[in-house]
């Protein structure tokens, strides 16, 4: 004891340095989670008797190999697609049993009867770029999401969240079961009001 002349350096601040590093890494790094657009493919077996769909209930979107859009036989810019799709889906032109009580559209008899009947048909060329295709898909999904958000806020004002937030909470594995059950009921209702009927035709092989 007596021989040790030099006292040790105070290492108390090491902890502070370590915490500093920890916080630095926590702030700067992002934990990567995969995300994307979920889709459901139609089953392989062809329907023997395809149901007859009125032409006015189909919203046709064609993407050519140069990434140009043809919507209902009119050329269109990508940025206008969301609005056009919403206008079509929310039209609610039907009467009687096809009437739509929650639609706020123009009720044009030439456009879709009811969101539950309206179908968006997306056709692309074999040489269309995947990026363009995703951009179009994204806009169409956005149109559905916007309508569902609006419906949710009108019908479930007490939930204090819109459709996208609800779906996110439902998908979160940390959400408790009873909350999930409650959310599922609301989500099913929303999805019934505005079902996502997005048909992807086989790509055009000829041109």
């Amino acid at each position: 004891m007596a021989k040790r002349a030099i006292p040790e350096v105070n290492a108390g601040s090491m902890a502070d340095i370590a915490f500093l590093l920890l916080i630095f890494f926590l702030v700067t790094t992002t934990i990567e989670t995969d995300s994307g657009i979920n889709r459901k493919l139609p089953p392989a077996e062809d329907q023997v008797d395809p149901p007859i769909i009125k032409q006015k209930n189909i919203f046709q979107v064609v993407v050519n190999k140069n990434g140009q859009l043809l919507v209902e036989e009119q050329p269109m810019e990508l940025k206008d697609l969301r609005e056009a799709a919403m206008k079509f889906l929310d039209n609610g032109g039907g009467t009687g049993t096809d009437a739509c009580s929650y639609c706020k559209g123009a009720k044009d008899p030439e456009s879709s009867d009811n969101p539950t009947k309206a179908i968006i048909s997306l056709q692309n060329d074999r040489e269309t770029k995947y990026g363009t295709y995703i951009a179009v898909q994204n806009e169409l999904v956005a149109a559905y999401n916007d309508l569902r958000n609006r419906y949710t806020l009108a019908k479930y004002p007490n939930a204090n969240m819109n459709y996208v937030q609800m779906q996110e909470e439902y998908d979160d594995p940390q959400t408790e079961e009873n909350v999930k059950d409650r959310l599922k009921k609301m989500l099913d209702d929303i999805k019934e009001a505005y079902p996502q009927k997005l048909s992807e035709a086989e790509p055009n092989k000829t041109n």
């Binding site: 350096v9 074999r126 295709y133 994204n138």
Partner: protein, 158 residues
Amino acid sequence: MAKFTKKKKGELPPVSTASLPDIVFMLLFFFMTVTTMKDSELKVINELPYADQVQKLDKKDRIIYIYAGKPHERYRATYGSAAKVQLNDQLRDVKDVGAYILEERAGRRPEIQNVLTTALKVDKETNMGLISDIKQQLRDVNALKINYTTRVGEASQN
């Protein structure tokens, strides 16, 4: 008794390294928890497109990944420059997708075998023809839940 103050001037005390292991361990644990293991090396160019209407993917054990795109430069000599499908860590033809899905599905736990999602990680420059062929294969083996994996951002950047 004890002599606390026996300083010699002008001599540097040794720096204590007692807490160094703690710091190293902390860093180690940090990286262990935060990083995810890369299970297969990418052999295709894989620049994902952007989208903003995205949903998070399910748990990792319920996902089958399919990569597609043009082969990297160093594989061009053997595989050519046309867009290819990468399954696990091999570049394959589109017609092998169905068999791969069945094989992967059989390898998963029985209770999750029918809730599997196929994540398509496709380069944004790929032609849709290839993706349609993949989708056709998926329909044939009844793997209908798919996810177009994207990066989060404005879709107009594509």
